[in-house]
Symmetry: C2
Subunit: 418 residues, 2 copies
């Protein structure tokens, strides 16, 4: 075992102990700790900004893009907003202790299925230091210890932020070890975390596709896959074309860098001649590069020929793959082959078409006459999300606080035997 492995297992063991103490704490205690953490972030904002400046300077030296530097940068205003988000988490209902099912069995045994924390949640994430606070707050509220493994590019910021959070916990009943930074910023520390099965209950990678695939392939700790979104909009033959245009444009352009933006548009052949000309004009005006198949290109010279790679790509940019399909079933078949099963939308006025699309498309969210951009914990009314799960086990779609819990059966008798 290397030093880094030993260090990572050390923090994981302390996290496991902290999780045992954290699990039975009631809401008032946890909310008090969250509010103390929010206050401490504001009080010590200057320290955080100073540490962040080191990260930003290093990023600039390394030639990081301005967009990435903007994501990395913290100001006192941004820290105040992050602290407000923590206060909002405090206001959310506590999922722990909720009785999901309960009944009295024929023999008189009283059966209850109760939400309990998962235990220790490891979060592996990329550049944005606000994730450090968000993830810690959501874990704490749901009674879980957080092991935070951020990017090396934000290591100075994260170190101070976690120090601030732990300092705030020290005045409360919540053990400080419920929030810990995983030591080391290299590949080895992430790998040690992925191998800490038995100490860490679940790993949630937050970031780009390659990060997620690495964690999924290398982790022996159970993983919840999040966020990869090759999302589709299918415009059916029976679509209201005004709505279809608005939805397609919104799904691509309203915020193109996020996982629920549309990457491929499928257009039914029966309405292609009426729909594609105005659509392609709108997209061109908004700066979108369209990658079209043979049946799309004749409508606009600016359309770039689509290759096989375009159907699989999560652009996260102002690019859109467009394909003409002969039927709803062909659209479904395309989606089943290429989608990451995050979000797909159909635009149609046909009840039977909507019903068939919804039942055949196997994705975390299926939209009928609505933009893919609505797949979001905030939009769904969950208050906050730790990520959007694109897997089928445990949680699927936006993961709020209830998805950060497990359950326990409590069975009460009076000397019952079989």
């Amino acid at each position: 075992m290397t030093d880094i492995e030993r260090d990572v297992r050390g923090v994981a063991e302390r996290a496991k102990d902290a999780a045992a103490d954290l699990a039975p704490l009631n809401r008032a205690v946890k909310d008090g700790a969250l509010l103390a953490a929010a206050d401490a972030l504001v009080e010590r904002a200057e320290e955080i900004v100073k540490a962040n400046a080191e990260d930003v300077a290093r990023a600039r030296e390394n030639g990081t893009s301005e967009a990435m530097i903007d994501r990395l940068t913290l100001t006192t205003e941004r820290i105040a907003a992050i602290a407000d988000a923590v206060r909002e988490v405090a206001e959310l209902p506590d999922p722990v202790g909720e009785v999901i099912r309960g009944k009295t069995l024929p023999n008189g045994l009283e059966l209850r299925q109760i939400r309990v924390p998962l235990g220790v949640i490891g979060i592996i994430y990329e550049g944005r230091p606000n994730v450090t606070v968000d993830a810690a707050a959501l874990c704490l509220k749901s009674g879980n210890a957080a092991l935070l493994r951020g990017s090396s590019s934000a290591y100075s910021s994260n170190t101070v932020i976690v120090d601030v959070l732990r300092g705030a916990l020290e005045g409360t009943e919540v053990p400080a070890d419920a929030v810990q930074l995983v030591p080391g910023a290299g590949r080895e520390s992430a790998q040690a975390l992925m191998r800490a099965r038995g100490l860490v209950d679940v790993l949630i990678p937050r970031g780009g596709g390659s990060l997620i695939q690495t964690v999924v392939n290398e982790s022996t700790v159970p993983v919840i896959e999040t966020g990869e979104g090759n999302c589709h909009v299918y415009v059916d033959e029976a679509a209201d074309l005004d709505k279809a245009l608005a939805i397609a444009v919104n799904a691509k352009t309203q915020r193109c860098s996020v996982c629920n933006t549309a990457e491929t548009l499928l257009v039914h052949a029966g309405i292609a001649e009426r729909f594609l000309p105005p659509l392609l004009t709108s997209l061109r005006d908004l700066g979108v590069t369209v990658h079209g198949d043979d049946r799309v290109r004749p409508f606009d010279d600016a359309v770039v020929p689509a290759t096989e790679a375009d159907w699989t790509t999560e652009y996260l940019s102002l690019d859109l793959a467009v394909k003409v399909v002969d039927s709803l079933d062909d659209a479904v078949a395309h989606i089943r082959e290429y989608s990451t099963a995050h979000t797909e939308a159909i635009v149609t006025d046909s009840q039977s078409a909507a019903r068939r699309f919804v039942s055949r498309v196997d994705s975390a969210a299926v939209m009928v006459n609505a933009s893919t951009r609505f797949t979001d914990g905030g939009e769904f009314g969950f208050g906050a999300e730790i990520g959007i799960s694109t897997q089928k086990l445990h949680a699927r779609g936006p993961m709020g606080l209830p998805e950060m819990t497990s359950t326990k059966y409590v069975v009460t008798g009076d000397g019952h035997v079989r």
Copy 2:
């Protein structure tokens, strides 16, 4: 890729296609298929018995124990009982299509979270050929394609049983490829199944601890751990000793070969002198070998000294480890260290003791004044179970049909954009 790997991936691909066709089928179609399968098992019972005789003969040649041979053996009566169990699965409610959550969002979007099948479920199991039918029936009812990978010792039986089931499906809308035996009975075929990520949605190992550990460690497909049960009964200082005696004896002896039987008894020091003498006498009369610590052995010469290994062993036999503890918290600490987090019981008349035990013990089921033997899908009223999950993600405790599903968000709008 070896021939076996290619064959296993081939059946997995067909299972994935079958799962897509199976998912939208309604309950009447699935129940019809289950009843046809039950009838076919009875009609072709003699074929099955004949194939089973080959497995039994081979087992005898290999010197298999009579207990194992009994588990392996099928008779026309046993097949009739297995067919009846399939008919009972048909009578259970269909979990697919259940709306778990639903609301109209402030912007008018209609949000529903709906149960959908997981897709393709791989089951890796040991000797008993009845599991082939049970698992197939539960998968089919919950809309999932089943990839069955039984033991080589039951390969002839399983081959004919799956042929019978597939034959029955051919007269229905359910695709025959929804039920398939994984080809090959060697280690390589199991490994190929464990590596079929992207084709298989979840693997459920059913069997002993070493089988489960192998699957957990080697699988890249998500796994649900089932069944390993190092279960504890803690007799508190405030226990009603008659109830404690009945529960301890029942938990150990009513059926000692199953996962929810008790393996360790923890006795509070304050009642040890009154409780242990009658308990040890009862256990001895029932043929139980007690492995006791230093504070247990003085009460009975027949007590064998307990070693560290006894605290970790799932005996599945008439053996019981017994330890005297000084407090409820010591009992909880022992459980947290050694338990497999399946089921633990406390016997106490103290509300505060029960409350503390329930909140501190982190197991799938916690019993208060009831035998550990009640952790069971049938006892809980779930009708049937695919296994008892001892992990925290996705499902915990007895897994009925709802635990064999995922969910999908369906969001309906009228041209909604952000």
